[in-house]
Point group: C2
Chain length 739, copies 2
Amino acid sequence: MASTSSLALSQALLTRTISRDGSGNRFSVPAFSGLKSTFPRTISTRRGCVSTSSHSFRPDLVRAAAVEAIETTTDSSLVDKSVNTIRFLAIDAVEKAKSGHPGLPMGCAPMSHILYDEFMRYNPKNPYWFNRDRFVLSAGHGCMLHYALLHLAGYDSVREEDLKSFRQWGSKTPGHPENFETPGVEVTTGPLGQGIANAVGLALAEKHLAARFNKPDNEIVDHYTYSILGDGCQMEGISNEVCSLAAHWGLGKLIAFYDDNHISIDGDTDIAFTESVDKRFEALGWHVIWVKNGNNGYDEIRAAIREAKAVKDKPTLIKVTTTIGYGSPNKANSYSVHGAALGEKEVEATRNNLGWPYEPFQVPEDVKSHWSRHTSEGAAFEADWNAKFAAYEKKYPEEAAELSSIISGEFPAGWEKALPTYTPECPGDATRNLSQQCLNALAKVIPGFLGGSADLASSNMTLLKAFGNFQKATPEGRNLRFGVREHGMGAICNGIALHSPGFIPYCATFFVFTDYMRAAMRISALSEAGVIYVMTHDSIGLGEDGPTHQPIEHLSSFRAMPNIMMFRPADGNETAGAYKIAVTKRKTPSVLALSRQKLPQLPGTSIESVEKGGYTISDNSTGNKPDVILIGTGSELEIAAQAAEELRKEGKTVRVVSFVCWELFDEQSDAYKESVLPSDVSARVSIEAGSTFGWGKIVGGKGRSIGIDTFGASAPAGKLYKEFGITIEAVVDAARSLI
Amino acid sequence: MASTSSLALSQALLTRTISRDGSGNRFSVPAFSGLKSTFPRTISTRRGCVSTSSHSFRPDLVRAAAVEAIETTTDSSLVDKSVNTIRFLAIDAVEKAKSGHPGLPMGCAPMSHILYDEFMRYNPKNPYWFNRDRFVLSAGHGCMLHYALLHLAGYDSVREEDLKSFRQWGSKTPGHPENFETPGVEVTTGPLGQGIANAVGLALAEKHLAARFNKPDNEIVDHYTYSILGDGCQMEGISNEVCSLAAHWGLGKLIAFYDDNHISIDGDTDIAFTESVDKRFEALGWHVIWVKNGNNGYDEIRAAIREAKAVKDKPTLIKVTTTIGYGSPNKANSYSVHGAALGEKEVEATRNNLGWPYEPFQVPEDVKSHWSRHTSEGAAFEADWNAKFAAYEKKYPEEAAELSSIISGEFPAGWEKALPTYTPECPGDATRNLSQQCLNALAKVIPGFLGGSADLASSNMTLLKAFGNFQKATPEGRNLRFGVREHGMGAICNGIALHSPGFIPYCATFFVFTDYMRAAMRISALSEAGVIYVMTHDSIGLGEDGPTHQPIEHLSSFRAMPNIMMFRPADGNETAGAYKIAVTKRKTPSVLALSRQKLPQLPGTSIESVEKGGYTISDNSTGNKPDVILIGTGSELEIAAQAAEELRKEGKTVRVVSFVCWELFDEQSDAYKESVLPSDVSARVSIEAGSTFGWGKIVGGKGRSIGIDTFGASAPAGKLYKEFGITIEAVVDAARSLI
């Protein structure tokens, strides 16, 4: 790949932003001159860091943060005012929408104000500036908090009219944060626990890139990942999975705020949540700080963030004790303020209580003026970094080219030629093994290709042989070791994918265990994160492990899910073809269902054909009118092909169709579809070692579907195929009955 | 319900066991006389208990168990021999099957020998004796351990020939433990973390029943729940969810052994799992004991179990450090012994190493003789308990009747009459509210009906108003408060359902969050646990919360899953009808998708009709040949009915069909199906606010399906229905185009 200049890079990134007014320069990079000296806050932040050693498992470390005398650039009354502005923007937007969650923004306004105004580095006019600090609101229901912050910080994605159309059709301010709708929102949250997992993925991405690309004289990758999570996130198992990994990996630049407000939807958290979160995080290996006064303790919050930044080898949890719905005289500290508008009367009471004389949605002039500096500061951050990148590119052209690919999502020309191809003479193999050939081939040519398995690398065949393990001490490695944590794995990969367009994370487990990670996979699909899911042991063909391990309904369940491609390749060419599309379609995740058992390289398959989703691999008819069409996927395509041979011996004309990806077939023209499945041919037989659910549409009212609509059993694979009737004979019999 | 005698009860339970040889008396209750005095082990166990106070969060409590001088009935060399018998039964079975997991049984043989031989109370000849101690092998892949124990203990379900047919078609010894195949196995495990969650459910069930039914003079409910979990279970998020709850609920009779062997499939656990598990469990509120020598430290293990039993207010984790594959000279302590047969040579080396002269599958006579007492002891346990129950029944007839219902699964006659019925004149309501009426009605008449929500009780409408909360201090309550822990919730409910046939647990969250708990729901279906899943907010009709909260593909995904009923009721009668079937079909779980929004009570619906799955609610045609059939479910049945009115005004004959449960319709006769969906009528339109995937089979090749095959959006519900085209007009237009 040709090296890319930093300016071109910025421009490439800018094309991702959504311009509503058609003006070309809304997100263009502003002039940078003379802005560099205006960063006292950042400098003071760094100077103020006290290096605190952190010892695991010592309870005395769970403590209130020491309130140190620190320099602040903002007087406390203005902070109060800014914090209240955030609160009332949330209150007003929820009130206007007559739905939403005011409680969290009212409680988290102080910590988030300090974070966005005093610590985070970002460029409001280019939300996609590569080296920005990332922020993830894991408690996504409180999204008005984030929208208010983006509005104050000067992001064009959230203007006053956007706040006023909160939760309305077509707005940039949906009911939960969506990265694909609102520039400035990094990931899609709402389902609890997903956000903190995404944050772990973002922090992993940073640590990995820093290890690969930073030089002693040029730390080109250097940002923090911040997240706010609530009690709900903490209760979800996924958060424990990913927080265990975050500590294992030593993600020192991950800083999570735990909004400790003691209220969840069903009331006081005491009814279901009495563990010691602090102690649990220490057990996981985190540095833990407790800010006791999250409502007004600005200096406590500042000191905690400084301390967290000083701890380099561990992620930090800042437990911030807050009052949900702070400021509401009758609803604060109760579940009633969690998920409903305050109501006109209580809004008025809250205005009186907090002394807020302003109109709904009004930002006081001094607050506006205070925040306005972020536009110029942000532009300067980016300009500064662009200069740094230019120097880097000059001195380290090869590394710069790789990093550019990851930043831009532009892959080296001809990358797809690295994929292996096969002829029928090639030895048969399990598609999980053929998949490993593809993974290794792709990792060599695509700099941002990395991934791993949930403790099944040797079964899923996912190791990248040319690379080491991503570990605390070796973060340059590209083999991720997730442990037995499928759900966390998927959500971490979403974070990696959404860190930079050129990251292609893959992750793996047994296909049946997609059930453990389905919530994360759905968010891949919704948030347009092009994760590749490598799912082996894809049918009863796995044999003796039995029905707990044998997928049945899983193919159907993903075919029904929007914006995800469900591939079931039959051999080497189809496996390579599936990877080609999975890499190409960056805004659609892919699931590859792969066999444990050996399969032959079939005549008639090809990488190119996979792009059509369904295609003919053999046919002895003429005039697009075979006697019967046999349709198979994956390991059963071979059975369809063998059944066709039998039928042809009887003089029948038979077409064999591979239906490797239904979603891609759906995208084809009517003419193409007709050329594969002519409407005049109603004699159609499908065979797939999975649920027949959904096949009715393909085989039509008169066709037959051979599959398995019960759970499997524990026995050798051959025996299972026979007992469940997934056989050549069954296909031949069905075909005969239809001709 | 008439009160049931204890003998009748035992017999009712015995009918659940599977008799292979047709003899009526294989599981009959043996004579009990004179056996009572043969329980020195149990008595000594109790006498030896040292009451140890347990303080949370004090690291000094994480320690090796004190090795106390205790009485044992078995000399150490016989224990060695018995332990090695377990090891070699596992080795031999895996070797014969040429697949399986020998490593765990070899490492866990000591702790499990002591548990099954010295501590647990069970009756091998009646695996379903109500008051038995429960054992769950959460690390289900090590199932040969459990099969070996059941074999030694004298369970008829695992005889020598069963061990020899390990992992073969039709055997009682499948590749992972399946309660529905093997009496003596309590639940179905294998997918990691599920088992410990089931164990929490079993322990919850015991604590709840004990609180409701025990009397100062008669503790009729009194058993322990034991579980073995490995590193894999510990990494899964679900285990953290349920272990947090277990401590919150104070499940003191739950004792979990953590097989701490430092090996998982990908190698040393150090590559992905470096947290402090002990500390984490202390943070969760467990009592933690560390047995440092799990390979030979029999007395350490005994002391730990005694200590655990003495701690009444907390569950106990006994971390037992073991060597995976203990005894194998070349494979012990490596991942190679985890999931594959040792191989002939290494089996031989292991025999030599452990000094094992016996033939494959041979149980030495002294070991056999030692274990043989469990048959008579077990019979005596049950006889003793039966006598206790008879006394209980005499003194507390009302409580005995309730308890009998829970034990037997026989519900009071006429229970279904408690369900509410509705006429079209009744006010419209959201089906989530109508569901709450059913839940409350059922809880009043079915003693084992209990459940709750994952922190959404006030949204899912699941509170039982006549009952309190199940909490540590109030375990008699029937409202379960799961916190935001969907996955754990489902698996805990599986445990409750499988504790006793009369338990009907329900659990609730938003329908979209079934994605978080799908693995547990699949195990409900596989293991025949009749859990009721109350899933509200079932479509884009939930409105402003947006696409992260709006189910699309979920109806399809459950319709494709075996042995689970997916209901989408349209109004009050259909909701009550769905509950009636859900309660009746105890071996099939049910999912109820319920609306957030208000729906009318429709003419033509009834409780009885729901049993057919699909049925006609209105029709103005004659001769079973309407011009068009409109098919709807749930909230869209109203739209179908209104579209029918429009079309009838135009003179068309229109049938409206409710398709409330596809699985039940599939079970109907061809004649019935033809009466609802005549094959001659190809003009069919379906409408459902979800994916159209799967509807092809119902509407046929010429029909039309109105649905939503993309993600939803954040906006008021009415706006979304209009924008996504789920409207009366769309149905009318589609129908017109087909007539």
